[in-house]
Amino acid sequence: MSDTLDDSGVPDRELLAAELVLGVLAGSERAAALRLVERDSHFAALVADWEEKLTPWAAEIEDIAAPPQVWDRIAAALPAQAAASAGWWQNLAFWRGLSLATSALAALCIGALVYLGTVPQKAPLVAGLDGGGQHHFVATIDMARGSIAVVPAAVSADATRVPELWLIPADGKPRSLGLLRADRAVSITIPPNLMGQIVSNAVLAVSLEPLGGSPTGQPTGPVIASGRLTTL
């Protein structure tokens, strides 16, 4: 789309930003404008500029104390504060992914406990896979079953490429673990020859590959997310 001018001489984009911030758009028009904010930094800057211009108007809106249960609900939805001293818990990407996938993760853990019928002797390994704020997965290893469950937290589906999961052990050579889905959790059986490499600090990475997976056995597309395995 180009910055065409309407009959007033003002660029379309400028007016669209004004309409979006004012709030008069609805339906597909609003959705398209919101998508454009994500995609187009020039348009996002126009939107930010209008937000800055109109914000003082909000001073007219009366402050109203929110009832205490609102914070209680927020606090309950946040991930628990970790007691560990390692650095991973300070990793925002991990918590972001985890906060988005907490319920799924909890379901997985409960599932694992039910399956085992007992508390597992080994702490589960998990990894939050982050890629610059846009792509997140949370991976949980079930050592007893030799499988890895990967939950998408904030991933856009791509019509022409699929996310592929890689294990990058200490030798730095990626091994494919299988294909992921952007729209639902996937459970992958870990090849027995790789089980020994599934240890704390091993890296998991996700690349975008042609449909059907990497044709070469090595990542060919962009790496959109990565993270280290750590004990929960």
């Binding site: 309407d6 007033s8 003002v10 400028e14 007016l15 004004a18 309409e19 911030v21 004012l22 709030g23 008069v24 758009l25 609805a26 339906g27 609003r30 919101l34 930010a48 937000e51 800055e52 211009k53 109109l54 914000t55 003082p56 108007w57 909000a58 001073a59 007219e60 809106i61 009366e62 402050d63 109203i64 104390a65 929110a66 009832p67 249960q69 609102v70 914070w71 609900r73 927020i74 606090a75 939805a77 946040l78 991930p79 504060q81 818990w89 300070q90 990793n91 925002l92 918590w95 972001r96 906060s99 988005l100 704020g133």
Partner: protein
């Protein structure tokens, strides 16, 4: 009412939220939730929905604190933008705007006049915006108010002011162009 009163505190707390600090989010909440709840309630007009949206807003702040750039925008601008977007999304998803009574441009009055004990910068911005809004025609100002405070769409506003949709679009667009020119003058 002063949107910039605790700017430094909010910016500092947001930077700690980025590293996953729950107590920092609570600080942001304590400093800003009354204003943001007011915004939610003004647009949604219903407490349960306003509470739901307020919760969503702070979960968004938790996840997206890294997107906030204190060099480019004020924290309240960022927070109010998130809040209005969430509230409008909720409004659009559930029903038409709550406030649909006819708008009489002749009776266009402000919700409240902010008190005078503001930090100077915030007060100056408010007065500048108001000066420019006062320069618009009464029907233009009334339409902008309906959109900003009631979450009205073009269609809602055309119905409330009994004009064709095309007329409403050109009113709003012309008003926004004038507003921009005045604010940037």
């Amino acid at each position: 009412m002063n949107l910039d009163a605790n700017r430094g505190l909010i910016v500092a707390a947001l930077s700690r939220v980025r590293s996953g600090d729950r107590s920092a989010l609570h600080t942001v909440y304590r400093l800003t939730s009354a204003k943001l709840f007011g915004v939610c309630l003004r647009i949604l007009g219903e407490r349960n929905e306003a509470e739901d949206v307020l919760q969503e807003v702070y979960m968004t702040v938790w996840r997206k604190a890294a997107d906030f750039d204190p060099d480019r925008s004020s924290p309240m601008t960022w927070l109010i933008a998130i809040t209005r977007n969430r509230a409008i999304d909720r409004l659009r998803a559930t029903r038409r705007s709550r406030r649909m009574e006819p708008i009489d441009a002749a009776n266009d009055i402000a919700d409240a006049t902010p008190s005078a004990d503001h930090a100077m910068e915030s007060m100056q911005k408010y007065e500048r915006l108001h000066g420019c809004l006062d320069g618009l025609a009464a029907h233009e100002r009334a339409a902008l108010r309906g959109a900003y405070f009631d979450g009205n769409t073009y269609e809602d506003l055309a119905a409330r002011m009994s004009v064709p949709l095309g007329t409403m679009k050109s009113w709003i667009r012309r008003a926004m162009i004038k507003l921009k020119a005045c604010l940037e003058a």
